[in-house]
């Protein structure tokens, strides 16, 4: 009993430390810049939504969020659509070069993003894709597709092959079996995979910033705009930062049960 209380206490302490920097940014975001620079305060004494209103009404600001959401969704869709059949192939079949391809896919997760920066810029320039959402979505496939294949393969290997065999004997074609029977069986896996794809695409900045200029510019890059003649506008910066956390928090809230289930299966 006592031991459990100590454990819970330590965990709560950790969660408080974890939330402290985020709380601090929230605190800043609810104050005007003058108020912030005027004096140190543990909580906003005159809370104001001024910073948020500015961001949500100025197209230069809020289009950043829309751009980010568009390419992240595109990337998640592409990653899942291509990775699902591939993961099935790796979990069910042996074929020439299977192990090598799997390893090669994973090595892409190890490539320094900085390595690919310039060639990417040139490649997408050649195809006239610079400053489009699809360019960022495709670039993020470099690390998300291998990850998706890897996670999904784990979930699929947990499904007994007899299910496939029975379905084929019952006269199912592969696409019909795959869509109507198999995918529903690994729902939790698809949820977990979508979450990780979303997460890595949402937090990445280097590619997103390099491949866009104005039309598809992500919110994270827009944040550099807060430097004005009078120095940094801390309140505005903090509010923009808080708003970048919201979509991630929403997504994790929606998939939390899938995540818990995925964790219970011992697969991440």
């Amino acid at each position: 009993m006592n031991r459990n209380h100590v454990k819970t206490g330590l965990l709560i302490l950790y969660f408080i430390l974890l939330m402290l920097p985020i709380y601090w940014m929230l605190n800043m975001s609810l104050r005007t810049n003058a108020d912030i620079l005027g004096g140190f305060a543990l909580y906003p004494k005159h809370p104001t939504l001024e910073n948020y209103i500015k961001i949500l009404t100025e197209p230069a600001w809020y289009s950043g969020y829309i751009n980010s959401m568009i390419y992240v969704s595109m990337n998640t869709a592409i990653s899942l659509l291509t990775a699902l059949p591939a993961a099935y192939a790796f979990s069910r079949y042996r074929f020439i070069g299977d192990k090598h391809v799997f390893f090669w896919l994973l090595t892409n997760r190890m490539a320094p993003a900085a390595v690919f920066l310039l060639p990417f810029f040139q490649l997408y320039s050649t195809f006239n894709l610079i400053d489009t959402h699809i360019a960022v979505a495709l670039a993020h496939c470099l690390f998300n597709v291998p990850l998706a294949v890897w996670i999904l393969e784990g979930f699929m290997s947990g499904i007994p092959r007899e299910i496939d065999e029975t379905a084929y004997l019952d006269g199912y074609t592969f696409p019909r079996f795959f869509i109507t029977i198999f995918i529903p069986l690994i729902r939790a896996g698809v949820g977990v995979t979508a979450f990780f794809c979303f997460m890595f695409s949402w937090v990445e900045l280097l590619f997103a910033r390099t491949l866009t200029t104005t039309e598809a510019k992500p919110i994270a890059a827009t944040m550099t705009r807060t430097v004005s003649a009078s120095g940094l506008d801390w309140g505005l910066l903090a509010a923009a930062g808080i708003l970048t956390i919201v979509p991630g928090a929403l997504v994790i809230w929606f998939v939390r049960n899938h995540l818990a289930k995925g964790f219970a299966l011992g697969r991440v």
Binding site: Y14, F15, L18
Partner: protein
């Protein structure tokens, strides 16, 4: 599980192959191409062989950046692995606390990397930040823009804050996969909490910890956005890690040849170390199964 043998399975892998090849192979060829040429402009390029590689390997600033990088990744692994395991052990195993803990702990992982830097700039500023102000009021003049040591401490705090949750989540997944009977047997055998950890939990977590170690090594070795935002590589060059230096060379100075050669060497180092870690941990596993 015995798999079916069928080369037609390649058709299922083809979409992935095309998408990744488009984003990986073509750019990689470009990098290789650059690394052996001197480029002045469109149509003006000369083959220089391994010249750039020699230059890069003799660049003392790169050596400094490399050692800095190893020190950083080493510290990251030393702190985050035990801490993450410890947090995973504290997390509840059932009830509503599971979802709540997962959501809370995953939150830092969902923040864009440069925003992480921004959060910590705000948090550690001596004038407006809680962390900076608290340390200053304790009588220590803390300023990560002036003192290399303070810059490192701030970076480590940020890094540990940001990524320990990933280790904790993976370790937690490993813990959840241990069948209840192991804990019951340990209780009946009178095992202490430490013995249970040492002889049941730790061995059973080996698989996920390998993944955590690899991911943390790779990502900390490739770190860019967070220190770029927080310290910009300074003060001086004290926090100029490999990626930051690489971007400086490639984008800042536009030295494409050396940058490309640098990139390839960088990639090989990550690959080599990941492979070494992987092999080492695999061998530990085999030794135990004999």
């Amino acid at each position: 599980m015995n798999k079916w043998e069928d080369n037609k399975a390649w058709f299922l892998v083809l979409p992935v192959f095309i998408v990744v090849a488009f984003s990986a192979i073509i750019p990689l060829m470009t990098v290789v191409n650059y690394s052996v040429q001197d480029i002045f402009g469109p149509g003006q390029r000369y083959f220089v062989g391994v010249e750039w590689f020699k230059e890069v390997l003799n660049d003392s600033r790169l050596h400094d950046a490399l050692w800095r990088q190893f020190l950083f990744s080493g510290l990251v692994l030393l702190i985050e692995m035990p801490l993450g395991i410890g947090i995973a052990l504290l997390m509840p195993k059932k009830g509503w606390g599971v979802s709540a803990s997962l959501v809370t702990i995953a939150l830092p992982l969902l923040i864009p990397w440069n925003v992480i830097g921004t959060i910590w700039i705000i948090f550690t500023r001596p004038d407006i930040g809680l962390f900076g102000a608290a340390i200053n009021s304790a009588g220590i003049a803390f300023d990560h823009t002036a003192s290399p040591l303070h810059a490192w401490i701030t970076l480590m705090f940020m890094e540990v804050w940001h990524w320990t949750p990933l280790v904790a989540l993976l370790a937690y997944a490993g813990l959840m996969a241990i069948p209840e009977a192991y804990y019951q047997a340990a209780r009946i055998d009178g095992a202490s909490a430490w013995a249970t950890f040492r002889y049941i939990q730790l061995p059973k977590m080996r698989g996920v910890l390998t993944i955590a170690l690899l991911l943390r090594f790779m990502d900390s070795f490739l770190i860019y956005a967070e220190p770029f935002v927080l310290t910009g590589g300074g003060p001086g060059n004290s926090t100029t890690f490999l990626s930051i230096y690489l971007v400086k060379v490639a984008v800042g100075q536009f030295d494409l040849g050396p940058a490309a050669a640098f990139s390839l060497i960088y990639f090989l180092i990550v690959l080599l170390f990941s492979w070494l870690f992987y092999q080492a941990l695999q061998n530990v596993g085999k030794g135990e199964e004999r």
